[in-house]
């Protein structure tokens, strides 16, 4: 295979992506003097990546299918904005060979491997065969029709991100799992092909960063371990892996280099393996920049995006691979609720600030709106330190100190992982989150007290003491909701302080930072962060429609009967119409149910208060 040698200098780059990766690429472009073109869907019109780019092109619509997955619109945008190259980022069209071809056909530089390389790795079944042929260790493939050894893992051939993936532990249920995996793969990737492998339990996910130029140099730029996953998606990644010995590393690098060379790979890519003990098996090749690339950058002191661009311009890699120094750990901060089946959250992120000596690759900022249309990852937070434990500590403290207001996140879980003994001992594997229990009980009382005192401080009138009484009959109380749990605190308004409330907790002075957004109160302290909802002092009375039978609101004549006895009606459905004083008045069902009695007919005269109809509730109670 002859690599296409490019000598073109990239002057303007279109970034066919959004969020943190778009911003990440813009950063390198800014440092290199490359102009950038952002694209944006309608919900992203005010997103930071749009503002930070030199130019921006709208992709009308909201869903990825209408916007970031539209190869035609992206190529058109690049042409319109005068871009001479396209960087796909990760996700979306980054591993779409057709898109890469369209970009090249438009005379633009594609920042990534050749379309054929992408394609050759697109089918996992084919990729696996090819790697086995190149001498890369692979797991035996099991025929879905004859599999007998359990547990097995069913995977979508065209898949990624855990979709179409199933773990089956016994024969019973295998057929169902296979069918559902196929359906999911079909709907997610348009290809129902699935394959089976023996399930490796307590194995680690280890991957090798590859950087290859068009002159034949291939770097194996260290490994990353990304074993800690939820729903088959990585949330904690690090480099180097605590489990990889020098010997294993040598073999891993050799396998990864062989894999890259076997497909004539150019640019940045990743070869993923499952590692158990000293043995590893090929998983897949990601023909793009990885989400977790920053750990490699920090440990090796390289800018992978810069190298992607330079390689696309035809530059040659030095022969010497940069040496690793220290240890880097990345966590993915998601707007999601780990306690609630990882349910993604959307809405306004009122405040977003992560302090400390960390690298923050974020797609959001104060006031960003997290929409339902895209991945709810807010940011990647990466710490680098001479040792793994030091990096973990630095990262945990930065996360604890972060101000993340408005949306529920996995922050606390990330902190708990980083501080977990098993993690600190390097005892990680892909079942880490299932093996260890991360549910925690949290005492919201001091947080509620701080919230109450800060809230009280905002109620000062002139200089009169807050909540002053000459005769005090009761201590003021404040009520909040901590999740679903009601929290009530007694407080002394004389102690009220705005914004930062310092409480003495068992002799330890502890500051609590309180921020309020509508009825949402965010309390941050070195003891953790808590979101509280203000319970209104007076519950708004529900709009109560008079229960029982429907009565005539005034004297009049029935001009229309809209229902029949026995009809099912919804609350608010029209039952009949009265005419009085030349005006029509619709009489509506006050609740859903069955019309059990209809006591009037058309043209009948009724008096105010006459019962017109009776609607019985679903369980037969008269409503």
């Amino acid at each position: 295979m002859t690599p296409v040698i490019k000598t073109r200098l990239i002057k303007t780059l279109l970034i066919a992506n959004r969020g943190e990766i778009a911003r990440r690429i813009i950063r390198t472009c800014n440092a290199s003097g490359i102009r950038t073109v952002a694209v944006f869907s309608d919900p992203d019109a005010d997103a930071p990546h749009v503002r930070e780019a030199d130019f921006a092109v709208r992709l009308p619509g909201a869903s990825p299918a209408e916007t970031y997955l539209r190869a035609d619109l992206l190529v058109e945008a690049a042409t319109m904005a005068g871009a001479d190259a396209v960087h796909p980022g990760y996700g979306f069209l980054s591993e779409n060979a057709d898109f890469a071809r369209k970009v090249q056909a438009a005379g633009l530089t594609w920042v990534g491997p050749e379309p054929d390389s992408i394609e050759s790795m697109g089918s996992k079944v084919a990729a696996k065969k090819r790697m086995a042929a190149a001498g890369v260790p692979t797991l035996p493939e099991l025929d879905p029709e004859t599999v007998t050894e359990f547990p097995v893992l069913i995977k979508a051939s065209a898949g990624g991100g855990g979709r179409g993936m199933r773990i089956v532990r016994e024969k019973a249920g295998f057929a169902d799992a296979l069918a559902s995996a196929r359906r999911e793969a079909e709907s997610a990737f348009g290809d129902p092909t699935v394959f089976c492998e023996p399930l490796l339990e307590h194995a680690r996910h280890v991957e090798v960063q590859i950087l290859a130029d068009t002159h034949g140099t291939v770097w194996a730029l260290g490994e990353r371990e990304c074993s800690i996953q939820r729903r088959h998606q990585k949330i904690v990644e690090e480099s180097p892996s605590p489990a990889v010995t020098d010997d294993v590393r040598k073999r891993l690098f050799a396998a990864a280099t062989a894999a890259a060379e076997s497909i004539g790979y150019v640019g940045a890519g990743t070869v993923e393996f499952m590692l158990k003990g000293e043995d590893f098996h090929f998983l897949e090749v990601n023909t793009r920049l990885q989400v977790e690339h920053p750990v490699t950058e920090l440990v090796h002191g390289v800018d992978l995006v810069e190298w992607q661009l330079r390689i696309a311009e035809g530059a040659a890699l030095p022969v010497e691979v940069p040496e690793p120094r220290g240890h880097a750990i990345e966590v993915r901060l998601y707007a999601e609720d780990p306690a609630n089946d990882w349910r993604p959250a959307s809405g306004t992120l009122h405040r977003f600030h992560v302090p400390g000596d960390i690298r923050l690759d974020s797609g959001v900022e104060d006031g960003s709106v997290v929409s339902v249309h895209y991945d709810p990852m807010l940011a990647k937070v990466i710490a680098c330190a001479p040792t793994r434990r030091a990096a973990a500590r630095k990262l945990a403290t930065a996360l604890e100190s972060a101000r993340i207001h408005g949306l529920i996140t996995n922050r606390q879980l990330l902190v708990d992982i980083l501080e977990h003994d098993a993690f600190l001992n390097g005892d990680t594997h892909t079942g880490f989150l299932t093996e260890h229990d991360f549910t925690r009980t949290f005492d919201p009382q001091p947080f509620a007290l701080a919230a109450a005192l800060a809230q009280a401080a905002g109620r000062r009138i002139g200089h009169l003491p807050l909540g002053w009484r000459n005769v005090r009959s009761q201590q003021p109380r404040a009520r909040f909701l901590f999740g679903e749990e009601p929290v009530e605190v007694e407080y002394d308004p004389a102690q009220a302080t705005p914004d930062v409330v310092t409480l003495d907790l068992d002799g330890v002075r502890t500051p609590f930072h309180v921020a309020r957004y509508g009825d949402l109160i965010e309390v941050d302290s070195p003891r953790g962060s808590v979101t509280l909802k203000v319970v209104p002092r007076f519950p708004e009375p529900e709009t109560k429609l008079a229960p029982g039978a429907t009565i005539a609101p005034m004297p009049g004549t029935v001009v229309r009967v809209s229902v029949q006895q026995g009809d099912q009606v919804e609350a608010g459905a029209e039952l009949l119409v009265l005419e009085a004083m030349k005006m029509e008045h619709r009489v509506l069902a006050t609740s859903a149910g069955t019309v059990t009695e209809l006591l009037v007919e058309k043209a009948q005269q009724v008096n105010a208060g006459d019962v017109l109809a009776v609607v019985a509730g679903k369980n037969g109670d008269e409503q």
Binding site: L464, G467, S473, P541
Partner: protein, 516 residues
């Protein structure tokens, strides 16, 4: 005991008396009330006022020293509702069913006066079993004023809002009836002139509570209820919404920015002499009451037993008159007269800090015109139209009580420190006067004066006068608006000054004839 310890002991005594008022009808009745899903009077008030806003309870010691429970089965005070300062009156149904005794009436009428004089909306939380029948003769006829006050408030443009939490029957029915707004609670409020037994007796008609006076009936049929609440909390919510929609605007000038005093209020306790015969410098107190501790003294060299001057409290300009050495002489009287006139010229409220043993007696002073000069001062105080606020810091004896704007001179508010004493004269003096008069009478009749009897009489009179001149006794008789912790004085005055500014602040156009 030092000054501080003596005063702290008095404050502790005051807290104990307040606790009696807070206890209401006692644990048994409080529990029964709660079990019925009802809120206590003060719980209703706390829910009614804005969260963490100040609430100045008035006359908490009403009925102290009488046969009636301390507090007089009603809670009154000044609080903020939706940012509007209101007078709040709440019956305490745990005390004898919330029935009104003569002190309940005096306390409620005082609250009405405060609402009218200071242009404060009146919010009543009613739940009363009506008049205390054994004392009906002291209540029935003067009690009519309660209803008159409501409509006069309304006529003066001061809104009246009533929420009925339970019974408001017979005369009580006129409370919602005479109010601008009436809120009733479903299945709880009962408002009628005559209940079922009385109706049966009067007309033979069979009836029930709900059809005679239930909230739903009044809401949908009689129209006496403007709002029908779901429960007590909802009634309070509705009362707050009504106040929010009054579109209330205060008529007094806005306060200037506030500066805290340079001295800690706590140190007031060190200033006040334990022994009332030892005067203290009121400037030390003033420095702890006024903004930035800045006091511009007027006529400092003249009549220096009375301190006069200008300052600001919580941003409001005030003129202050404070006794420095107890006695008022002619010079002090004339100085006060001029100062009061000046305050009226500039529409500046006045604060009286009482610590006076009265006007000077003796031939020299009588000949110097002390009666004339004292009269001038009393004339000025009587006809002054700017708001007066009085604090009894210590002694308040004789006509000094009048000249320094005692209760009879209608200060908008009058509060007493727990160490204060007030009487026509000091107990020892009064007993001594009686002794001299008795001795003279005996001598005139040529009888021997019984020294033993005299000593016993003096002891008895002294003890009685002493007891009747103490702060709780006077407060029990509604001769003040409450006994306060001296350290709270600046706050109390701040609340009161803000309240008086609800109405216009305007000085007198003329005074009575000043004898010269």
């Amino acid at each position: 005991m030092g000054n501080r310890e003596a005063l702290l002991a008095k404050i502790a005594g005051l807290d104990a008396e307040h606790a009696k008022a807070l206890a209401g009808g006692g644990p048994k009745y409080v529990e029964r009330h709660h079990k019925r899903g009802k809120l206590l009077a003060r719980e209703r008030v706390e829910l009614l006022v804005d969260e963490d806003s100040p609430f100045l309870e008035l006359s908490p010691l009403a009925a102290w020293g009488t046969d009636f429970p301390v507090g007089a089965s009603v809670v009154t005070g000044i609080g903020r509702i939706e940012g509007v300062e209101c007078v709040i009156v709440a019956n305490d149904p745990t005390v004898r069913g919330g029935s009104s005794n003569p002190y309940t009436l005096r306390k409620s009428l005082r609250a009405n006066d405060i609402a009218l004089q200071n242009r404060l909306p009146l919010v009543s939380l009613v739940e009363s079993g009506g008049a205390d029948l054994p004392t009906q003769s002291e209540i029935f006829i003067p009690g009519g004023r309660a209803f008159r006050d409501l409509t006069r408030l309304s006529a003066a443009g001061i809104p009246t809002i009533t929420a009925v939490f339970g019974n408001a029957t017979a005369g009580g029915a006129y409370v919602p009836g005479m109010s601008d707004y009436a809120i009733m609670i479903k299945d709880r409020s009962k408002v009628f002139l005559g209940g079922p037994p009385l109706v049966k007796m009067a007309t033979g008609e069979d009836s029930d509570d709900e059809s005679l006076g239930g909230a739903s009936m009044h809401g949908a049929t009689s129209g006496l209820a403007d709002f029908v609440a779901e429960d007590e909390t909802d009634a309070i919510r509705l009362a707050r919404r009504v106040v929010a929609r009054l579109n209330w605007r205060k008529l007094g000038p806005e306060p200037a920015p506030v500066e805290e005093p340079l001295f800690d209020a706590e140190s007031i306790l060190d200033i006040v002499s334990e022994d009332q015969r030892v005067p203290f410098d009121p400037r030390d107190v003033i420095a702890r009451l006024v903004d930035g501790s800045v006091f511009d003294e007027f006529k400092p060299l003249y009549g220096n037993s009375l301190v006069t001057g200008w300052a600001r409290m919580h941003g409001y300009p005030v003129g202050i008159l404070a006794n420095a050495r107890g006695v008022l002489f002619s010079e002090e009287s004339q100085k006060a007269t001029q100062f009061i006139q000046l305050a009226n010229q500039s529409d500046t409220p006045l604060v009286f800090l009482q610590n006076t043993t009265g006007y000077m007696v003796g031939a020299q002073y009588e000949q110097g015109g002390i009666v004339k000069h004292g009269s001038m001062m009393i004339n000025a105080v009587s006809n002054s139209r700017v708001p007066h606020l009085t604090i009894t810091m210590g002694a308040s004896y004789g006509a000094g009580n009048y000249g320094m704007c005692g209760r009879a001179y209608d200060p908008r508010f009058l509060f007493t420190w727990p160490n204060a004493k007030s009487a026509v004269m000091g107990p020892a003096q009064l007993a001594g006067v009686l002794s001299i008069v008795g001795r003279q009478a005996a001598m005139a009749k040529g009888q021997e004066y019984n020294e033993e009897h005299d000593a016993a009489m003096r002891r008895m009179v002294e003890a009685q006068i002493e007891e009747q001149s103490l702060a709780p006794f006077l407060s029990g008789k509604l001769y003040d608006d409450g006994v306060i912790d001296p350290r709270d004085t600046r706050t109390v005055l701040g609340v009161c000054l803000s309240a008086v500014h609800s109405g216009p602040i305007k000085g007198a156009d003329g005074f009575g004839v000043f004898r010269m």
